[in-house]
């Protein structure tokens, strides 16, 4: 490994984004003293057009402060610029940029991806075609909430809005063909209220679930109802939409009155499809930044909370992680700014200080490590190197290395073997106590549960010893075989539950190796029941006790 002292952290942060979250992140990091390169794929920052009812919290975006920050000599902004590729490692990323066909590279220490989502009307799912009867939620929001804020090109839509009277009907469709979200609901509620009070139109909201899990939204929902906005809730896809060619008519059965109704609204507003911009999707693939099942930034893994990515030095904030209220984006901007600040100025975490070594004599540059590293911490030139700022010390590479060329201080083969030897010694001294079990487990989950079991009055008949691993992904098949060879009656392997591994796949790799060892045991005529694998989280003390009891029982049975 390159030593920590050898690597540098270029004190410069690249912030990618085209809206309030990116601006807020930049503002906060400028305040904290950093040099910033702003990369905006658009021509200008999108305006924060929250309605008053869901107003974002005060930040530089909403105040004159932004102007001052934008003039800060430590801030350089490139508009209409694409982020082509991210190369290198935390502390010293080379970022390839392109603007007006001109390509260049910037070197930065950290990156914050804070994009806005692309939002479009959900026409296809509702089988609607754009017409003068229909306005998307974004369009309506822009017209209603920006009046007086001088957004251009909205005059025709403004005129349609001004044509609304107490005789007209306005219908919103939300969350009927795809799961709704709090952003679309907040917009729908504030727009419904605004239209109802300003034009006295009949406003109907057709929805599946009213999403109010944000501060102030239940109040807003109640206010809408008090003012006569009608809510129709469906447990299916909702009204049937029949397009006469001129107008769309909604046919539905009222859920309360059980009677068929039809409504031809003067203004129909479908909810939105929100997606990560395409070029950014490409970047997440090439830079190996993991996304979730919907293609939004940050996979479903609680260990990445709040703004981490699977890669050291790359942070994620705002709507790019999935639709959210503007004010939540601003909260995330601050949280991301803190994570950047931690990265540069924060104390080095204990595990980050561990030395990882690659033995040049053993390494054949087969690149197995590089392919398995979940944190993209490994690179190669004429030899393999592990980057100390990107590496999380999970040890997956060390266990996958076919040459055993990689070792992590504290968990090196020799050190684990020494622990096993110490156990053997202990067993010899406590002669006759059966069965003897060696437990290998992730220090973060099993290790914590183990300590709690130890400190409780839980008693078992037998020897039960825990050998901690930085991640279950550091389990070497050799460890298991060696434990059995020195007459352990059983080996228990404990890994974090699926999709709860801080190193993304460490637990599944451990499971794969367990299966291999078990198959191998079976082939060699060895009782595979002596090796056991369980998923365990830190707060499952009951399960650890149960597993110990059960495993002890089995081993006693088979030895009798």
């Amino acid at each position: 490994m390159i030593s920590l002292a050898e690597v540098q952290k270029i004190p410069k942060v690249l912030i990618f984004g085209n809206g309030p979250t990116a601006q807020e992140t930049a503002g906060q990091l400028l305040d904290l003293g950093y040099e910033i390169i702003g990369i905006n794929p658009a021509a200008a920052f999108s305006k924060d057009i929250s309605c008053p009812a869901i107003e974002s919290s005060p930040g530089p975006v909403n105040s004159d402060q932004w102007g001052t920050l934008a003039n800060n000599p430590r801030y350089v902004l490139f508009n209409q610029t694409a982020l082509q590729a991210i190369e290198g490692f935390a502390g010293e990323f080379q970022v390839r940029l392109i603007k007006d066909r001109k390509e260049w590279t910037e070197t930065v220490g950290a990156i914050v991806l804070a994009p806005e989502l692309m939002s479009a009307g959900r026409f296809e799912d509702y089988a609607l075609t754009p017409s003068s009867q229909i306005m998307t939620l974004e369009e309506l929001n822009a017209v209603v909430c920006s009046s007086g804020k001088g957004i251009q090109g909205e005059t025709e839509k403004e005129a349609r809005l001004k044509g609304l009277t107490s005789q007209t009907y306005v219908a919103f469709l939300i969350g009927l063909r795809a799961e709704g979200n709090v952003l679309d609901m907040a917009r729908t509620l504030s727009l419904a209220q605004e239209i109802r009070t300003k034009y006295q139109s009949q406003v109907c909201v057709f929805c599946r679930n009213v999403k109010v899990a944000e501060e102030g939204l239940e109040r807003l929902y109640q206010a809408c109802r008090d003012q006569g906005v009608l809510f129709f809730k469906f447990d299916d896809v909702g009204p049937e939409m029949i397009d006469s060619g001129e107008k769309v008519t909604l046919h539905f059965t009222d859920t309360v009155l059980r009677q068929p109704f039809e409504l031809t609204p003067d203004l129909l507003i479908p909810d939105s499809v929100h997606s990560l911009p395409e070029d950014l999707q490409g970047l997440t693939v090439s830079a190996r930044i993991n996304t979730d099942g919907n293609g939004y930034l940050q996979p479903a893994n609680i260990h990445l909370l709040p703004q981490a990515s699977n890669r050291g030095g790359i942070f994620l904030a705002g709507p790019g992680k999935g639709p959210l209220l503007p004010r939540t984006g601003l909260e995330e901007a601050k949280a991301a700014a803190l994570m950047v600040h931690h990265f540069f100025e924060g104390e080095t975490l204990e595990n980050q200080q561990r030395e990882v070594t690659v033995d040049k004599g053993l390494c054949t540059i087969c690149l197995t490590c590089l392919r398995f590293c979940p944190h993209q911490a490994i690179g190669w030139t004429h030899r393999i190197f592990i980057h100390p700022l990107a590496c999380q010390r999970c040890g997956i590479c060390a266990s996958e290395c076919p040459m055993d060329a990689i070792q992590i201080a504290g968990y090196a083969d020799q050190e684990v073997e020494a622990k096993l030897a110490a156990l053997k010694q202990k067993w010899q001294e406590a002669e006759g106590i059966q069965p003897k079990i060696v437990v290998f487990g992730c220090q973060r989950s099993a290790g914590v549960a183990w300590e709690e079991v130890q400190s409780s009055r839980f008693k078992v008949q037998g020897q039960f010893d825990f050998i901690s691993l930085p991640c279950a992904g550091k389990l070497d098949p050799d460890f298991v075989l060696k434990a059995l060879a020195m007459e352990a009656d059983g080996v228990l392997i404990l890994a974090c539950p699926e999709e709860n591994c801080k190193s993304i796949h460490g637990n599944t790799y451990a499971h794969g190796r367990f299966e291999e060892i078990r198959d191998y045991a079976e082939e060699t005529g060895f009782d595979p029941g002596r090796i056991r694998f369980e998923y365990l989280s830190s707060n499952m003390v009951w399960k650890l006790k149960e597993v110990i009891d059960d495993f002890m029982g089995r081993l006693n049975e088979s030895s009798n």
Partner: protein
């Protein structure tokens, strides 16, 4: 920027307070943390792991991570069973005293971070659900504790496993009669995740969820809900009452879809998904700090304008919040504290 001469006082050692303490500590800021109860970890310590078998992202295990890291942190001074007695602000510092069973103490801090959390809704305040009267009526928190401690669901009436159970959502939340016009944001999450967990452990169990609206939570929610709907029965109606049935069963009475007739459903166990209410100390804190409560009784985090200088907040003290949101807010608050301290030190 050197913040190592600064100290921050944190009130509350739950997930938000612990996360903030660790985040400040990483910047070299000293922390004095005052916790009212006997242990750190707050409410989250009661919550079970809901992996079934795949992690459902509830975040309950994260408090263990925080506690483990705290054990290795220097410059975090923790006082358990301690309460803030007095606090005042002079030109640049807070001066405070706190009480403890074995004698209190006093200190000075440059900033104050409120992380005193919430109080679960008192299920007794919805007497129609007979909580505390019928043995087989539990709250969501009771169920969390059962699952956390034993990994099993037990009927309190006879300590056996139930065959059927039903959750009632929005107990204490979104309730105009109680003047609680807010959503607690976490109850759909914990109820559905526990329902999935129980179904995973006991595939034969019949589980019903009475609800008004299902709120989104976590990542990939749409796929989560589709999966959940396959094994849990959803009824869009909030029961008017729970009464006693035969053999210690509970009977839910609820309105049919037409809103005219009522229906009944019997189950072995009722779970009341109680919401998050303002912390009991909020009024006292509000007065002590000159920090007005909002209409629901929480100490609002925003707008900053209404908040006295040097006071920050994280977690459910400012309103209902999930574990993940509390963590994000703790980071947000610490960033604000860092900016505040560095501005102050540069003046």
């Amino acid at each position: 920027m050197n913040l190592s001469n600064s100290k921050v006082l944190i009130l509350g050692g739950g997930i938000a307070g612990l996360t903030a303490a660790l985040a400040l500590n990483r910047l070299g800021v000293s922390v004095e943390l005052i916790e009212k109860s006997e242990t750190l970890g707050g409410m989250v310590r009661n919550f079970c792991c809901k992996a079934s078998p795949v992690c459902q992202q509830c975040g309950a295990c994260l408090v263990n991570d925080a506690l483990k890291m705290l054990a290795g942190a220097h410059n975090v001074d923790v006082h358990l069973q301690a309460e803030l007695k007095e606090i005042k602000m002079d030109a640049k510092e807070f001066l405070y005293t706190y009480s403890r069973p074995e004698g209190g103490g006093e200190g000075r801090a440059a900033a104050l971070l409120l992380a005193t959390g919430f109080t679960p809704f008192r299920a007794e305040d919805k007497p129609q659900y007979r909580y505390g009267i019928l043995p087989n009526v539990l709250t969501g928190l009771d169920l969390e504790k059962q699952l956390r401690e034993t990994g099993k669901v037990i009927k309190p009436s006879d300590q056996t496993a139930p065959q059927s159970m039903a959750f009632i959502q929005c107990v204490g939340s979104r309730d105009l009669h109680l003047n609680h016009p807010f959503c607690s944001q976490v109850c759909c999450g914990y109820a559905l995740r526990m329902a999935n967990l129980i179904k995973h452990k006991s595939p034969q169990m019949e589980i019903t969820v009475f609800y008004m609206d299902i709120q989104s939570f976590g990542k990939d929610f749409s796929a989560f809900l589709t999966q959940t709907r396959k094994q849990i029965r959803f009824i869009r109606s909030i029961p008017g009452e729970i009464s006693a049935g035969d053999q210690d069963q509970v009977i839910f009475t609820f309105q049919s879809d037409d809103g005219l007739t009522s229906q009944k459903l019997a189950a072995d166990l009722a779970v009341l998904s109680v919401g998050m209410m303002p912390g009991l100390d909020n009024p006292v804190l509000s007065q002590m700090l000159g920090h007005p409560l909002n209409a629901d009784g929480f100490l609002p985090a925003n707008p900053e304008a209404s908040r006295p200088v040097g006071i920050f907040s994280a977690g459910a003290v400012s309103g209902p919040k999930s574990i993940s949101r509390s963590i994000a807010q703790a980071y947000q608050a610490v960033e604000e504290v860092a900016a505040f301290l560095s501005k102050r030190s540069s003046v």
